[in-house]
Symmetry: C2
Subunit: 311 residues, 2 copies
């Protein structure tokens, strides 16, 4: 694999950025890796682990001379970073991000970037419940989707180059419109996470069932909620605040459906329930057969696994 | 391991009963295994696989001379079976069931059993998304909980004997009151399943996001919902119809909490969201550390695995 970018600036050194650094190093995909994080402790950790060649004390310094700049900070922090680095970006550089929401990142970041750079927003659908510079590993993106949402009129060569890097890190790349991305993610990720957080909160709050009982018997379904409700609170706060419209739309649909099922339970309408469960089973089978349903210790990267479902 | 029961009658020959048969055979835990299922095809399959010694054409015939009778039919079918077998049960026999709801099973089954038998309701917290006589395997109950809800005044020796069988099949046994069981299960299993079914239905219904997109990007959180929404529609219909009160109570708490979070999103109240997500994270961590959070291909029986969580 030849070098795709000569100097990469990672702004933010958490799970995603550190995993990118490990993957880029492992594949020999880039020249120098420069890192910046707000916290001096994080910068020191990154240097100590050695996944960056050097760190800088400001984001502006980090992006100097970089032909790829990766914004890997919480969505809510993107605007301030973009304002700071804008004047320091090299001509012809590509700027991407890894935020879970695209329209609001584009609105926050876009206006601060000069016309001479290529802004190609992105979102790797990959993660673990861990965060921070010590949580990264090279295989994080393997067989995961990396969605790119280049704006209309984006330079095809710059887009192709970034897609090459994502693929070289093991990811599958799809392109889509930013608005569609935000709706799709509201369905497959954001609303499910909010629901999971809610259910965990309900269990935690219920005096008559102890937390130790919830933990003990969690294999009966509950653990699948906790799996997704254990991740970074700041990241998720920003997701919901910035993908507000799509999340509220899907939540509205969700509560409408839930109330219909709740009513069927109250009225003892078994036919309605049976019909609903039969219909939903079909799409679940589709997902299981597509091999997306696995949570093996390697995060499902090496092989698809049979899912657990307890009665 | 010595023989715990001389003749076991399995009423119903689906996933749970066939897994019990395999486990009992493997451990040499019982003498003869007699099977009954409503469908002649299922009976023939059970004989062909060989996990029963013989099958009978009626449930009444199956229980004759059995010292353990296991009711492994959907909860909604329990009453008719109990009425049929009641007069044919051997004196001193133990009758148990494997239903996901306990109070309504007790109300449906209890009145039809003679005083000369020990009725000890049970619920193994184990399953897969498959059903039918071909889906069973001996390791299904290994390291899973088997909850027993003996009525007050139950014979301690009969309870201990049944618990011995469960443990010999690899399960951990807990005893609890039937009402508490139904509330705990409403929290850790029934309500999560209803929510998962609902979210899958919403995704399936949404014109602007295709099913193939949902399947493709399901690793972002959605797959954890589909994992639990792929199981038997009849079983789940019966669960919700028979554990109505506890499910509706927990659902009520759930929608209350969900509306509070939805309102926080609408109002942009990041502090509320962050506080909520931080609190729920703690209980999730507890579950992960307890090693209940795994969905390895062996259903987590051999080792706890690190959970996948995508951003």
């Amino acid at each position: 694999m030849s070098v795709i970018y000569n100097r990469v600036a990672l702004i933010g050194l958490g799970l995603i950025a550190s995993s990118m650094a490990h993957a880029m190093r492992e594949g020999g995909l880039v020249g120098e890796i420069v890192g910046f994080a707000k916290s001096a402790g994080t910068r020191a950790t990154a240097l100590e682990i050695g996944f960056v060649d050097r760190v800088t004390e400001t984001a502006a310094q980090a992006v100097e001379g970089a032909d790829l700049v990766v914004l890997a900070v919480p969505v809510g922090a993107m605007e301030a970073i973009a304002r700071e680095i804008g004047p320091h970006l090299a001509e012809g550089a590509t700027v991407t991000d890894v935020g879970s929401v695209k329209q609001s990142v584009i609105a926050a970041v876009g206006p601060h970037l000069p016309d001479s750079v290529h802004f190609i927003p992105g979102h790797p659908l990959a993660g673990t419940e861990h965060s921070g510079p010590r949580s990264g590993f090279a295989a994080l993106f393997r067989n995961r989707w990396w969605l790119l949402t280049p704006p209309e009129g984006a330079d095809p060569a710059a887009v192709a180059r970034l897609a090459d890097l994502c693929r070289a890190m093991g990811a599958n790349v799809d392109m889509m419109d930013a608005a569609h991305h935000d709706l799709v993610l509201a369905v497959v990720s954001h609303t499910p996470h909010l629901i999971a957080y809610t259910m965990v909160g309900v269990a935690d709050d219920l005096g008559r069932v102890s937390n130790s009982e919830v933990i003990k018997y969690s294999a009966s379904g509950f653990r699948d909620f906790t799996r997704i409700a254990a991740s970074d609170p700041t990241m998720w706060r920003d997701v919901f605040l910035t993908n507000k419209e799509a999340t509220l739309e899907i939540l509205g649909r969700f509560t409408e459906e839930l109330f219909a099922l709740q009513r069927a339970i109250r009225l003892g309408d078994g036919a309605h329930l049976h019909e609903y469960f039969t219909r939903t089973r079909a799409i679940c089978r589709g997902i299981i057969e597509a091999g997306q349903d696995t949570a093996a210790p390697d995060f499902g990267r090496s092989q698809p696994g049979a899912p657990a479902k307890t009665g």
